[in-house]
């Protein structure tokens, strides 16, 4: 115990004086230096790894940018065989699948989180919470397998034909269907990001002070009003964090999406048909690809990171604005 106190006590300013005054405290100063060296050293390693990784990605994507230019973002034809690298179908697919996942998962997830904290009987709360955490730990390839073996045939046989029927063959759901589709990928992603949203929102909701909830109830607010006006707004920081994290996972999910999306590079208006995402396309086509194609895949991964970073930034912006609004 005493040693532990000794190591933290001397400040950086005090160290030189100690060294000059006598040998007795020198070992302490040395351990202090070692402490700072370790701290800075490990932090430096972390920074170097991150920077080196990003530089590697960007460096490897240079030939692609030289070859394809902005066409990599705006081009609609992905045909490596004829050296045509239009990334728009891949970018659109990435955004579409993530959007479907969030549109479906956010309302379900937040409602479920509120229910777990405030509506479900307390003896069910813990098992339910553990169950949600368990789902979050299931490897994505398992979700992909269920998607391929169970959901794809259902989508081909029932879900998509039904959608076409009830919407009057609306263009978003039209065409010949194989089951493998943007919609199926979005649905699988919904299932995958739900546990993340539920678990993190639940933690945030649980931290909303009880006095506030009771206060609202005591002034005559109904339970529904309290949940809507007090509990959810009170937990918005955590909920926004949960949604941002879910968005990042949905945008970058690779194997499960690659398994169910059909790997089709056509820019189709129909969500009922196959498509592809940046991550899925990288996984499906980098084997034996030429150097130029691989460079283009690197460039796409840079685009994907930019998209994910923008989503994070947007989340922070929203949070910042919401917090400012709350203070006024």
């Amino acid at each position: 115990m005493p040693e532990a106190i000794d190591t933290v006590e001397p400040t950086a300013a005090a160290a030189p004086k100690d060294r000059a005054s006598g040998a007795r405290r020198a070992p302490v100063a040395r351990s202090d230096r070692a402490y700072w060296a370790t701290l800075y050293g490990t932090t430096a390693i972390f920074v170097v790894i991150c920077v080196a990784f990003l530089v590697t990605l960007i460096w490897n994507s240079v030939p692609a940018w030289r070859f394809s230019g902005l066409g990599l973002i705006t081009g609609t034809k992905w045909d490596p065989q004829n050296s045509s690298y239009g990334g728009l179908p891949l970018i659109v697919g990435t955004l579409e699948t993530a959007a479907i996942a969030l549109v479906l998962a956010v309302p379900i997830g937040i409602t479920a989180a509120v229910s777990i904290v405030h509506l479900v009987p307390s003896r069910l709360r813990t098992p339910l919470s553990s169950f949600v955490e368990l789902l979050a730990a299931v490897p994505s390839v398992v979700y992909g397998m269920v998607g391929v073996l169970v959901m794809a045939p259902k989508f081909q046989g029932d879900v998509l034909p039904w959608l076409q029927h009830v919407t009057g063959n609306f263009f978003l759901f039209s065409g010949t269907v194989s089951g493998y589709s943007v919609l199926l990928a979005g649905t699988v992603l919904t299932i995958m990001v739900l546990p993340t949203i539920v678990a993190l929102s639940r933690d945030a909701i649980a931290t909303v002070p009880h006095d506030q909830v009771e206060g609202a109830l005591s002034v005559g607010a109904t339970k529904w009003q309290t949940l809507r006006k007090v509990v959810v707004p009170g937990a918005r920081v955590g909920i926004t964090g949960a949604v941002t994290l879910a968005a990042a996972r949905a945008l970058g999910e690779t194997i499960a999406v690659a398994m169910v999306i059909g790997g089709n590079v056509h820019l189709s208006r129909s969500l009922a048909q196959g498509g592809t995402t940046i991550a899925a396309q990288i996984a499906q086509s980098f084997d034996g690809a030429t150097a130029l194609t691989i460079s283009n895949l690197f460039a796409l991964s840079v685009i994907l990171i930019a998209i994910t970073a923008s989503v994070n930034l947007l989340g922070r912006r929203l949070l910042h604005r919401a917090n400012r609004g709350a203070m006024l």
Partner: protein, 411 residues
């Protein structure tokens, strides 16, 4: 079932080879006198190490052949084959000086364009490499249509139209006409194809192009099969499904109602669902044949003059020939010197080169009763078709041109 069988077969081969090694000299003397160069045991001196990388089509063959050969040559160390794909295999052998790869595996022989793609300055000429056929396989067409049993008759024109998006229904008149006995549903056809660079796609599109040449309006496959990013998906309809590797295509067909797709023949044997619905394809003689080992061998036999520039063996004009077939190849440097083998000096390079050509020669041949199993016997156990005798001879003819740094022969 099948896997177990394969594993058992491998074990037998290895055990057999080990036994032969123990009983070595006596057998060797007999075999040498009979003029058979493939002895039950093999020696290369001094000890050497080689490695190969490339085509995944050839991977099952390499994975069983390498331990079997290592068991019969105590001086040989052959590193595990890396199934990185044909394109990478070619790049690795071109840059052998830095990758340390001694042979590259590819399903379509390397050409000048492939060298240019992988090299910026001081590039080697294509004549500096030799390319050896080491395996033969077929591409089967399988479908998943409820109520439609195996043996549906299809031809290249119909397949081209399905993959072009011209024929969209299973009960299209073109398909009905060839299959009066089948009850075909009015369902939409879902074509399945490869998302990755693939020799299987090459062989399939090569067949479509060659076999539809005489057709006029529809049913023409206008896209030349190329070697890199060999995919067809840029040309296929938007409702098609793309999947990675033969295994991915196989499971997509098995899971998608009303689908059709092409996979390497051994994958059809491995998948019960696929094996239950295999199309008979019209060959060059106009006869419909389902893929069989015999049919693939019969087709290959019709193309005796195969080499690394004329290698297509699709659409053979033989009664029993199955028309969608292809070889898989090994690419090696003709000159086995220190820089091409990534070794310390030319002496080591010669030993490495000798082991390399001896291994590939053994791999490309069938054994005899006195020699025990050789590479092509192992290939047969793995679901490949043994190379025809004339192609085995071609492999030897090609391999003897590989030389050491002083232009000396290696076998």
């Amino acid at each position: 079932m099948r896997l177990t069988f394969r594993r058992a077969a491998t074990a037998t081969a290895v055990v057999g080879a080990t036994f032969a090694l123990a009983a070595g000299p006596a057998f060797a003397a007999v075999a040498a006198h009979s003029g058979d160069p493939y002895l039950p045991t093999d020696t290369t001196s001094p000890a050497a190490t080689i490695s190969g990388a490339g085509s995944s089509f050839a991977a099952p063959l390499q994975n069983t052949a390498i331990p079997a050969y290592s068991a019969r040559n105590g001086n040989a160390t052959i590193n595990a084959y890396q199934a990185v794909g044909s394109g990478t295999g070619e790049a690795d052998i071109i840059k052998a000086g830095s990758t340390g790869i001694n042979w590259g595996g590819t399903d379509v022989p390397m050409g000048t364009a492939d060298i240019a793609k992988n090299c910026s300055s001081g590039c080697p000429a294509i004549t500096e490499f030799v390319q050896v056929p080491i395996g033969l396989g077929g591409v089967g067409i399988s479908y998943n249509v409820p109520g439609v049993k195996t043996g549906l008759h299809l031809n290249a024109t119909i397949l081209a139209d399905i993959y072009n998006g011209v024929i969209t229904k299973w009960n299209a008149p073109q398909i009905k006409k060839l299959n009066p006995k089948f009850k075909l549903p009015a369902a939409n056809i879902i074509p399945v194809f490869r998302s990755d660079s693939s020799g299987t796609s090459y062989i399939f599109t090569n067949f479509l192009q060659v076999a539809t040449k005489s057709t006029t309006s529809s049913g023409v496959w206008p896209y030349a099969p190329t070697k890199n990013e060999i995919n067809t998906y840029a040309h296929t309809p938007s409702y098609g499904v793309a999947a990675a590797h033969n295994g991915g295509v196989a499971s997509a067909i098995a899971n998608t109602k009303d689908s059709i797709g092409y996979v390497e023949y051994s994958y059809i044997l491995l998948n019960k669902k696929l094996a239950g619905s295999v199309a008979a394809i019209q060959n060059g003689k106009g006869i419909y044949q389902s893929p069989t080992v015999g049919g693939i061998a019969a087709d290959a036999a019709l193309f005796p003059h195969v080499n690394s520039t004329t290698f297509a063996i699709v659409f053979g004009k033989g009664k029993t020939a199955y028309p969608i077939c292809g070889y898989t190849w090994a690419v090696v440097w003709r000159l086995q010197n220190a820089s091409h083998t990534n070794t310390a000096n030319n002496t080591v390079a010669a030993a490495t080169g000798t082991l390399l050509v001896k291994y590939l020669d053994w791999l490309a041949h069938s054994g005899t009763s006195s020699t025990g199993k050789a590479g092509q016997d192992i290939a047969a156990l793995d679901g490949y078709v043994p190379l025809p005798k004339n192609i085995q001879a071609l492999a030897t003819r090609t391999l003897v041109t590989v030389v050491g740094s002083a232009n000396q022969k290696l076998i």
